[in-house]
Amino acid sequence: MLIEISQLVKNYEIGDLLVPALNGVDLQIDQNEYVAIMGPSGSGKSTLMNILGCLDTPSSGIYKFRGRRVSDLNDDELSRMRNKEIGFIFQNFNLLPKMTSLQNVELPLMYAGVPRSERRERAIEALEKVSLADRMDHKPSELSGGQRQRVAIARALVTKPGILLADEPTGALDSKTGVEIMALFDELHREGNTLIVITHEREVAEYSRRIIFIKDGKISSDEKNIRKADADQAILRTRG
């Protein structure tokens, strides 16, 4: 099992008040799953994603990644986890504005200590995968929203992480570009990547194979996306 979460609780202290964001979440995600986490704002879905992405730590409960207890890791080890195992894709892309696409994609490899020539090679490879190799010397301001998100996806992919975490990946894009990005996610999933997409849009969630609803800090439903799952089956059958 890639991710195992049990009885995860996260409380925020606001003044003297203890505000619960996650209230006992149990969740298991396997290798090569494509999961959508849905919920209204304030439901706790972003908190869950931050904890999954090692950006935040739970108040109590257990989070295991590849069987390793993440809640026991120190700051350096968490940095290493974020670097090697997690690929973040944000709603607002979060690229560094002064750097070119290539430099942005190289950045995680730099923190991983990959030598320069190899780094460049792998960054170009990742940009090719998102069909942006021809834009590698452009800065984010010279790219469209869709292209920026592709650069961000290339940056998330470049370390070959265990999991891709996307937080409202189409939130800042028009619907046509959003569809293109989701098609890219589909492709990444077919290639064997594990994806978790946080969204409040039904259409985005429909691309996934499993849809989880969160409400008031708890999982309220966790179901297979039958339509997509059936389609996968159909593809498997035709291949078979």
Partner: protein, 412 residues
């Protein structure tokens, strides 16, 4: 992450904000420049003082007749003092321990003539070893020899100024100079000497380049006395074997001469080396103050760096969050910001060194203040500026590293 990568990131950040980086550097630039300029002024003054005293001889004790009016002279003569004499000089050499040599000299202000040119000069009657004891040097020809001295020959050695005034470029050797009613043959010309405007102890400053040196024997035999009251000699320069013995010797000399002169205080003793040390002590405090003022400006420059760096950290919170999200450790962020601060201070330091060098050069060029830049002062100023960068960059860097990734990435 490799070190050169961190440096690259830091330099990029500085180049992205060239004007701001430059403004931040200004404090360091002026700090370093003023440290170097101030120390160069102090060093220049020190060297000038050393040159001045070396001229008088650092191992020398100078015994010189006080300047007295005729009335005062009459009074001391009435009290049995004959003034400084060759006997005094001889006794010092023979009796006082650690004395290596003595150079008595007689002096007379008079007019020297060559053809229709004349000049006011000081005629000085000396012994042959005068030149060695006083550390003077001959530029052309030679100094008075023992033979010329013993035979009170009519020869003279001219100061460089006089030689130039009389013979304007031609060699004066073998030419005749007329002093009072005596014709003297020029056998040498002294090297030109720096003119000091300050008075050292009892020694009034004068232009040594206008002196005429003749054998003391010739002086006593052939030049007329101004009046009967004038002492046999004006000054005795005593050379001591070891500068550690200067004070001891001077005390012995004082008691000796006091006895010869029946306790008339008609002379004074100057020890150039002691004056030099005294002056150095005074200067040390002065230099320390100058340096401290300059160091404070460096410190203020450092605070400027810290100020801007703190603002930069705020402004770049989002960037820090992104870097943390994709795997930067605290120490990666930390070193990035420390190195940025150090890069600012190193660049500022280098510019400051250049500015400081030109400042001290400009000062010596356009004012009459002598400056001298020593390598160590450049090194101190530069090292200090780098340290300032590290110290004042640390706090902002620590603040940047301690930002929570989750909060900083959402920072707008």
């Amino acid at each position: 992450m490799q070190f050169d990568e961190i440096i690259r990131i830091a330099l990029h950040a500085l180049l992205d904000h060239k004007f701001r980086s430059f403004l931040t550097m200004l404090g360091i630039i002026f700090g370093v420049a003023s440290v170097i300029a101030m120390l160069s002024i102090g060093e220049g003054a020190k060297r000038e003082a050393i040159a001045k005293y070396q001229d008088l001889g650092v191992n020398n004790i100078i015994v010189r007749e006080r300047n007295m009016s005729d009335a005062e002279l009459e009074e001391v003569r009435a009290k049995f003092s004959q003034g400084l004499s060759l006997l005094d000089a001889q006794t010092i050499l023979e009796i006082v321990p650690s004395v290596e040599a003595v150079a008595p000299q007689a002096e007379k202000e008079t007019e020297a003539k060559v053809g229709d040119r004349s000049a006011n000069s000081t005629v000085i009657g000396v012994t042959p070893d005068f030149i060695e004891i006083l550390n003077y040097e001959v530029g052309e020809g030679s100094f008075i020899t023992r033979e010329q001295y013993d035979n009170n020959m009519k020869v003279c050695v001219l100061g460089a100024g006089l030689a130039k005034a009389f013979f304007s470029g031609q060699s004066p050797l073998g030419q005749m100079v007329k002093i009072e009613d005596q014709w003297l043959e020029v056998i040498g010309v002294m090297k030109s000497k720096a003119v000091f405007t300050e008075t050292v102890g009892e020694l009034a400053s004068r232009d040594l380049n206008n002196d005429v040196y003749i054998p003391l024997t010739t002086f006593n035999k052939r030049l007329g006395k101004t009046n009967k009251l004038v002492s046999e000699i004006k000054q005795i320069t005593v050379k001591v074997t070891d500068s550690g013995k200067l004070i001891e010797c001077s005390e012995v000399i004082r008691s000796l001469i006091d006895r010869h002169h029946f306790n008339n205080q008609d002379y004074s003793i100057v020890i150039p080396y002691e004056l030099l040390k005294q002056e150095e002590n005074e200067r040390r405090i002065y230099n320390f103050l100058l340096g401290a003022i300059a160091a404070i400006s460096l410190l203020v420059g450092g605070i400027g760096i810290m100020n801007i760096m703190l603002a930069t950290v705020m402004e770049r919170t989002r960037e820090i969050g992104i870097r943390r999200a994709i795997g930067a450790r605290k120490k990666d962020i930390m070193s990035q910001f420390v190195i940025e601060a150090v890069a600012i201070s190193i660049t500022g330091g280098l510019i400051g060194v250049l500015l400081g060098l030109s400042l001290s050069f400009g000062i010596s060029l356009f004012t009459n203040v002598t400056t001298y830049v020593r390598l160590y002062s450049v090194l101190i100023a530069f090292t200090f500026s780098v340290l300032v960068g590290i110290c004042f960059g640390y706090l902002p860097a620590k603040k940047a590293a301690d930002l929570k990734p989750i909060e900083s990435i959402r920072y707008e």
